[in-house]
Subunit: 272 residues, 4 copies
């Protein structure tokens, strides 16, 4: 879940919705895994120069500190992630969101046969970034590849190059469909959300509908009047059942959210 | 899961079965909760005077130490438990099995409105035992009540008295159905398994069929020839699908397993 | 460590001082224990109605989430505590500060022979509060005794009564010196710090000197000019070596801090 | 601590000695760090084909499961390690001993400026072994370098080559003294213990004196008569104060223990 909008108390996003992320951690309806109990992570922007991250190895539904934080943290930009490990160790250094400078990155999906391709992918990471890799996940390596290919300058191009490189490397090792992904990343100002898979059959990804549109559609819903105009939520599964509130981000595309405007663009891996 | 029989490597029980306990922790088929990710516990008898216990707050499916232990521990008597908390904190002192001297105790179910009745129940625990209570669960208090009522001398009578006392206390506080339980307890020699609920609609509990009977029924199944005659497994859910291998312990009854023989008796709470 | 004053970033208190609390967790100079590695806790007042608490079982020097929080939390009132267990389990429910409504409570010291006196102390807790006790520490029972004796109405009187009751109970059980304590408590507005022990030889406790006094003494020290007039820090060990900055709270006394004014009063247990 | 000898109950080694490893975790007398609270690990040989490992992120003095295991595990070969992190994350994948096949490896010391040299060292690891690296420590990379240079065939030569490579790599990056180490490794039969540092001033390492010699010296000490002839303990700090029981392994040398015989040899890094 990625939130960008007017400053909000975290529990409004994380705990109060009907089908909140904490509820999803126990009972996912759309995910590849029904239980996402292999750790949890938060990222948010506040007083510090860089965003804060909170990483926990406990299932989200069990973490009391998370409930405390949700009741006290206010921010205009939150990332939250529940993990279902595809084999990697359950440890804080494997929890999303990952951070580099002002950037946050989280991912739902996998690089297939990662143990086979990992060495080639890691070697391609810029040596000056290499020592920052702390965990053992595919997601962190993917993030550092995107940074290597220019994430901080041109996020869509960098992700397209990183995916191009991952696909090329996977195919060299005989992997038919090297990557399955939904990715969200931010520098604290803009927010980018990508949906792609080598096989053209990606996990779900939704973006909340423009608040003004929703208000016109539901003039009597008070909840919609509390939201600021520029509110945008990107989620793997809708947080509630309000018809029209969630738009699926199409296969092989990405959304850019900036100052409350979001745009959709096609996504295609680039050769590198 | 409670095992009594010839010494066995733990992984044969915990990891290899089709529908093993670790698998059940992620996907329970019969349980009240589909996910049992709120900690794990083992108890076994070995070189020490008292049984060993291993308590973990991680979900069973994530605990690497558990896989290591399963590959090395051999014992004629194992208890294993996966927890789905009904609200209590996730901490080692709340993990089953609980231990006192040579006794182990584990429980699937709950004492209803426990926060309301807890004080009265705890006050009834023998003062000499009181200081041993370390956690905050209903199960541990239930165990110390059973000890107070003579578990070490006459287990069925003690459990019937403890349940009688819990029901009386609950009803004093207006709780309609004070207890829902399946309990297993052992002193390292005998094994007792109880199934009861105030409403007469208890959680599932199964006992493995006598090995000689199964061999006669399935003469060509090699797995059955590796088991010793006195093998007995008590489980909340069958570990596999072999027809005839599992007998449901009926409502309001208990099984006594001793030297490979098991007997069924009716269970009824006693006034105290 | 208890801080009351103008809103401050937690890391200014917790991480930056020469002899910070995190440093003290590894190398205490004045404490009864040289290592305080048995968990950590924070409490602070912010957006929620009640204070937030963050409880960790990791040693403070190892907790990465703590460093993240310290870099982002701003509050006018912080409690922080490093634990050296005197035998109790290392679990979040045993971490200080404890909370009830708007109150926080933390303690350095012990109730002697706690396992002997625990039952009598717990029985004296108001039954309406009993179910809130979640952990197994002497500190939490002490807090609930103080609440029972009126902490929310008259904190000094309630603590004097709780200590009187603890001493009476201990002596009934033949404990020569039943309590050794420094306690800090707050309702988010006032702050009370107590130093007392049955044997008249208590652990250290210090209160920061009035900022105006310090500025007059050190006109050239810029750090003192950033502090607001009403800043007050209560600590078990000074955070730095500035001469005159720390005043020892005397044996058998307590300090009341309210709107930047602090007063010292004698403390004597009351019969109950 | 590495033990090789007749099968022994772990608690005899880990808990009962005057200055046991658990005691050392809180109060090291000879170590570079006085507190070793950053995790714990055990390795032992038993029923499985490969040794078992138990890795914990809790300080050893706090780990209740460890006390339980110590009371029940019997093995002729134990490795135990207490960690004081030099910066790496506190996670199970960073706990010693590390394992590959039948080999265990543990290390006290550090590769200096590891973040600078890490990439070059990791690239030198055999690609077929690369995917087994799970953690982020210098020790694990050192182990995989030794495996790459033939640890399974000729342990002393492989370690000399690995250290030669580490020193060469460090010096290329301007590190004056690239390594400080005491290492123990075993395949379940032989045991090798190395003491070396680039600056010629290594951490302490001791080997227990031959039991027959000790018995002749202390004919009235019953403890010595319970030990088998082939008992050998390798430790960073002596476990007790019996004069003559511990021999320091000299600077730049290694001990080979095989069937109760131990030999000392000089150690010198080899160019690769």
């Amino acid at each position: 879940m990625a939130y960008s909008g007017s400053p909000v108390l975290l529990e409004e996003l994380l705990i109060k919705p009907t089908h909140s992320l904490i509820d999803q951690s126990l009972h996912s309806r759309l995910g590849a895994e029904t239980t996402n109990g292999d750790g949890f992570g938060l990222g948010w922007y506040g007083t510090g120069e860089r965003p804060a991250v909170y990483h926990s190895v406990a299932p989200a539904w069990n973490d009391r500190n998370l409930v405390e934080l949700a009741d006290h943290l206010v921010s205009p930009l939150f990332f939250a992630h529940i993990r279902a490990s595809t084999g990697g160790a359950i440890q804080q250094t494997n929890c999303h969101p990952f951070r580099h400078g002002r950037w946050l990155w989280m991912h739902n999906g996998l690089i297939r046969e990662f143990s086979t391709v990992k060495r080639d992918l890691v070697l391609a990471v810029d040596p000056s970034l290499y020592a920052e890799i702390e965990g053992s996940t595919d997601t962190e390596v993917f993030f550092f590849l995107a940074l290597t290919f220019g994430l901080e300058e041109d996020p869509p191009a960098a992700v397209e190059k990183a995916v191009g490189f991952i696909e090329k490397t996977g195919r060299t090792h005989g992997v038919e469909h090297p990557i399955q992904m939904t990715v969200a990343t931010t520098d604290g100002t803009g927010l980018w959300a990508f949906r792609y898979s080598s096989e053209g059959s990606s996990r779900s990804l939704f973006c909340s509908t423009n608040v003004a549109t929703l208000r016109a559609q539901y003039p009597d819903n008070p909840a919609l009047h509390e939201l600021s105009e520029e509110t945008c939520l990107v989620v793997s599964e809708p947080l509630g059942d309000l018809a029209g509130a969630w738009n699926e981000i199409p296969e092989s595309s990405y959304a850019v959210v900036h100052e409350g405007q979001d745009e959709l663009h096609p996504f295609s891996p680039r050769p590198v």
